[in-house]
Amino acid sequence: MAVRVQEADFDIGRELADLTAGNHAIGGLGVFVGLVRDIAGGEAVSAMSLEHYPSMTERQLAEIEAEALARWPLEASLIIHRVGDLMPGDNIVLVACASAHRQAALDATAFLIDWLKTKAPFWKREETPEGARWVDARESDDAAAARWSK
């Protein structure tokens, strides 16, 4: 169970191998990777920067992860979120959950990314031909997170 916030890129293959290494109770691994797109709201995006609130980020991500552990029988989980300056195609976030069976692994992964998107204090700023702009929060993200409250 681990949460990391870092400027550096991550190696998806190595992270997943490390996550499951030595634990043969794991039968399924759910993974979500978020990447920087080169278009948003119909406008070209040439770069992105990510700001966060370090002490609160750690606390929120740890709480979200603890909630996932309480809901699903997970053998391992990992959240890595990058901050700083990113380019289209770059990795932003990795969420992975391992369990004995696929349903818990996939559901817990979806839960973690849905909650992270609405609770973890990160803010994206995009560079576009019209200038830099802060990304607006989306109502669809709130709806995605709300489905786990039922």
Binding site: G34, L50, E51, H52, Y53, S55, M56, R59, Q60, H81, I92, V93, I113, L116, K117, T118, K119, A120, P121, F122, W123, K124, R125, W134, V135, D136, A137, D141
Partner: protein, 83 residues
Amino acid sequence: MKLMYFAWVRQRIGTASETVDAPAEAATVEDLVAWLKTRGPGYAEAFRDTRAIRFAVNQEYVEPTHPVAAGDEIAFFPPVTGG
């Protein structure tokens, strides 16, 4: 108390954090916002529509009616957009 600002709230106010001695009548987050708005045009602009702002006291989300006290770390920021 320590105040922290993020994203466009930080840009409009022009600083990332500051330590202030708020007046005694600033007993809640919304009272504190009302006082901050009087501190200059950047603050007034940042807090013009408080429905667009989220609040955290000591790293936990709170409602505008939440009490504040000396020694608290209070953060103001737009809805989050990570992931």
